[in-house]
């Protein structure tokens, strides 16, 4: 039961870089609107079943932030036909591993186990898709677990707290300003009724995507899905209201002082469009998104990329540094650079050095060698990532959850290969502008 931020889950190339020429993928849609995508992988007699719901913290609003994540916790409790905790007892008894995760854009549940158990997955997932029982007493205990989770992940972690503050400042009207786990006060004030309403509002077969990857026959899986999910009635689930981010007209700055912090930390984020927007609007071209992915890899793809070469080695001013772009989120996203300076380097110096690296790419495009390196790595990574069924299913589910075609995973390599040096320069100039930048400094402070 993890809460993953979209940024950690989908960091540019890492997740979408995947092609499965040899692995057949089939998609189906049931009459009630449930989507099923099945990918065969016969290397081991196991399967992963994931159920994705199109709801997450970016569907929430002030006062109930964190409700998607809290509901995810309660999905492991009682249903009409399963006693509290019995869901997990069943999965464990059959040798399964299970968990769930919530992000800004989706909530997903999964089991990994022997392929023969796919039907059992469907049976119990169908059960909690429409027969969840949220009991007051269980909720009262579980919301304390959620508070403990927030303390663990965020409140006692100065970098996470600063990142949360930075995100809330970067986004003014977009719901991406909410932390996935929710604001502390919202968690404390949450009621079982808030969760019941949220469950009724978003959970139903017509807002769900079932992904199966493993040692299965797609048509048999389809038949099982019809048997178990088919009887569920489609529900009235209108899409969320549009809450676009307003244009930004200048750099925003956050200073976060913490007595718990021992090293300074720099967070920089440029607002940038995503694939879903490029596909649905004429203002953004699809190639621009791929060029932004290549740009992120030029800065931070591996130990030879520019951040490592010039700032960790070279000028020796960064101790840790990364660049990432979450190109497959639902809404306007961030092109992010995070860094810990070497001792003796100020955050201002490091910020300027990062801006210099970005500005250099607005004047001169990446070299032929750099682009070749990135393209070779994308090809290689698509091969390497076939080693994990869970990862394959994650890519399919995360694409579909934001309305993207899962086939993008197959065309991704070619899309990256088609990116030119000039295009990288163009998107650097067009999108990585000071006007859309948010900078946060985490500054250690002596305890008073």
């Amino acid at each position: 039961m993890k809460s993953l931020s979209i940024a950690t889950l989908i960091t540019g190339l890492a997740i979408t870089a995947f092609a499965v020429a040899e692995n057949r993928t089939q998609e189906y849609k049931l009459d009630n609107g449930l989507e099923l995508i099945v990918q065969e992988d016969h290397r081991a007699p196991v399967a992963v079943v994931q159920v994705w719901y199109r709801v997450g913290s970016s569907y929430e609003y002030d006062g109930i932030t964190g409700v998607s994540h809290a509901l995810e916790h309660m999905m492991f409790k009682r249903t009409e036909d399963l006693e509290t905790g019995e869901f997990s007892t069943i999965v464990a008894a059959k040798g399964g591993r299970e968990n769930a995760f919530t992000s800004a854009d989706y909530t997903a549940y999964f089991q990994q186990w022997s392929a023969e158990n796919v039907e059992l997955s469907f049976e119990i997932e169908a059960e909690r898709m429409h027969k969840l029982v949220i009991e007051d007493e269980e909720f009262a205990k579980e919301i304390n677990v959620v508070l403990e989770e927030r303390r663990l992940r965020t409140d006692d972690n100065p970098q996470a707290l600063a990142a949360e503050a930075s995100r809330a400042v970067a986004f003014q009207t977009s719901p991406y300003r909410y932390p996935v786990i929710g604001w502390e006060a919202d968690i404390k004030n949450m009621s079982a009724d808030d969760l019941r309403r949220w469950y009724d509002r978003w959970y139903g077969p017509n807002n769900a995507i079932v992904v199966v990857v493993g040692d299965v026959d797609p048509n048999e899986v389809h038949a099982l899905a019809k048997k178990h999910f088919g009887p569920l009635a489609a529900r009235d689930i209108p899409p969320p209201k549009s809450r676009p981010e307003v244009p930004q007209h200048g750099t925003k700055r956050v200073t976060f002082r913490s007595a718990k912090a021992k090293v300074p930390y720099l967070i920089m984020g440029f607002k940038a469009p995503v694939l879903a927007q490029a596909i649905s609007s004429v203002e953004v071209e699809e190639w621009e998104i791929y060029a932004l992915d290549v740009l992120a890899e030029t800065l931070d793809g591996d130990a030879s990329a520019r951040f490592q070469r010039n700032l960790v080695r070279g000028r020796e001013i960064a101790s840790e540094i990364s660049a990432s772009f979450s190109s497959s989120s639902r809404l306007t996203s961030l092109f992010s650079c995070n860094a810990v300076p070497r001792e003796g380097t100020s955050l201002a110096e490091l910020e300027q050095a990062i801006l210099d690296e970005i500005d250099a790419l607005k004047k001169d495009p990446p070299s032929v060698e750099e682009l070749e390196r990135i393209k070779t790595q994308v090809v290689a990574d698509t091969v390497f990532e076939r080693d994990s069924m869970q990862h394959q299913a994650m890519i399919i589910g995360s694409l579909r959850a934001v309305g993207l075609d899962w086939r993008l995973k197959d065309t991704y390599v070619d899309s990256i290969k088609a990116v030119t040096r000039a295009q990288v320069l163009e998107v650097a100039a067009k999108y990585l502008k000071r006007e859309v930048l948010t900078v946060a400094y985490l500054l250690p402070e002596e305890a008073s």
Partner: protein, 440 residues
């Protein structure tokens, strides 16, 4: 059958779970100069994984805490004729991924490359240089030391990591396992190039190496690769046996930290790899705190009382007995209650043995879940490297489920009562503890 009835059938049909996965066929040989090689052919994906593991973990640091970790980290910072920039540029061009890591027992390098010779050959050449011909340039040493020191400072922000380090210190006192693998700010600042060269010369030798290879290649090619990687290594000697562990005796250590939550670790030195009690302890712990959302600790601390996000226990088998660790983290106002439940749960388990239903659930999960342990090349290569490093029998995976099945409530109770002395538990608590917990 209704869902209700099917569930009852699942829960009470304890013998229904069986493992159906074919275990990988492991080939084993020794290179000309004495490195032990373990190989599994996996032709499905056109890639190759190579792990090289040396008994060169932080337990070999001696007085220079963090030396093993720094030596290992420097392997990627320039090798053979190439400095760090040139090395990483060439490696990047092959599409391969290379990682290094240091634990207490072992230090290793991992390479994952495409199987196609066009990529695999240059990647393996670079990997070989990193293993055997690292440059240890002065500039790279200074740079990496400075970065490790920043990382050590950053670790002081994390109550969980402070607790883990303090727990090992409390458990192992003067033993080499007591120190964290990354050393201390003072120790790391003092390393000289000659220290690193000496460490590499002593421990990165063929007789101290295990090579694990999995991927789309045949045995002949695996042999070539293993020979090529080890050829530049001197034969050398296997690292000596680490000192025996002395039981620490009951202690409770509080570390003041300005966190909201208290991080708790409770445990003892546990067991070795290849320990005769391995299976009873593994299965018993799976019931107690290892079977994620259904273990006894999860149920008592989280599900019933909402006291902690995570509550778990595990054995970390090592060359000498690694720790048994039970852990949770909770708001400091609930610390006393959570700790009381943790102690009571462990004590009850050790005294009474595992409840029948929990033992059955643990065995079913381990046996039924066995195919998941070997469902990818990354998992298989890690297993065979571990089997090789700790000299476990080659049929370790073949016999795994049968040995789990053979565990009974009696063997668990017997093993836990002998190995987990509840009178001598070591406790570490990091947070706002003691008198200062009352002030706000």
């Amino acid at each position: 059958m209704s869902l209700r009835l099917r569930i009852l059938a699942i829960l009470f049909c304890l013998a229904a779970v069986k493992a159906v996965a074919d275990t990988p066929s492991i080939e084993h040989w020794t290179t000309a100069n004495g490195a032990r090689v373990y190989f599994v052919a996996a032709p499905e994906i056109a890639m190759i994984d190579v792990h090289v593991v040396f008994a060169a973990g932080s337990a070999r640091d001696g007085d220079r805490k963090g030396l093993a970790n720094l030596t290992n980290g420097l392997l990627k910072e320039g090798a053979g004729p190439l400095d760090a920039d040139a090395f990483n540029r060439r490696l990047g061009a092959t599409g391969a991924r290379m990682h290094t890591r240091t634990a207490r027992d072992m230090a290793y390098l991992r390479l994952r490359t495409l199987a196609d010779d066009q990529y695999a050959e240059p990647a393996l050449d670079l990997f070989t240089d990193a293993v055997a011909r690292p440059r240890f340039d002065e500039g790279a040493i200074e740079r990496l030391s400075a970065r490790v020191i920043v990382a050590l400072k950053r670790k002081k922000q994390s109550p969980g990591r402070i607790a883990q380090d303090a727990f090992f210190r409390a458990l192992y006192a003067d033993h080499p396992y007591a120190s964290p693998t990354d050393g201390t700010e003072e120790s790391v600042a003092g390393f000289k190039r000659v220290d690193i060269l000496d460490f590499h010369k002593r421990y990165y030798v063929a007789h101290n190496a295990v090579i694990a290879i999995v991927g789309a290649l045949d045995k002949a090619r695996a042999k070539q690769i293993a020979e090529a990687i080890t050829a530049p290594l001197v034969a050398g000697e296997k690292a000596g046996v680490l000192p025996e562990i002395t039981a620490p005796g009951a202690t409770e250590k509080h570390i003041e930290f300005p966190s909201i939550q208290s991080h708790v670790r409770v445990g003892l030195p546990g067991m070795r790899r290849g320990d005769p009690d391995y299976f009873p302890l593994l299965v018993g712990n799976h019931a107690l705190g290892g079977n994620s959302l259904v273990s006894i600790l999860f149920r008592e601390i989280r599900a019933k009382r909402g006291l902690s996000y995570s509550a778990y226990s595990y054995f970390m088998p090592m060359a000498q007995p690694g720790p048994f660790i039970a852990a949770l983290q909770t708001d400091r106002t609930q610390q006393a209650e959570a700790l009381k439940i943790l102690y009571e749960t462990i004590e009850k388990f050790v005294t009474d043995g595992p409840p029948t239903a929990d033992l059955a659930a643990a065995k079913n999960n381990l046996i039924g879940g066995f195919p998941l342990r070997i469902d990818s090349n990354s998992k298989i290569v890690e297993y065979i490297a571990m089997i090789g490093f700790y000299d476990l029998p080659l049929d370790y995976l073949d016999t795994f489920t049968a040995r789990v099945a053979a565990v009974t409530a009696e063997t668990v109770k017997d093993a836990f009562s002998r190995r987990l002395d509840i009178e001598n538990l070591v406790t570490v608590i990091v947070g706002r503890t003691g008198a200062q917990a009352d002030d706000s």
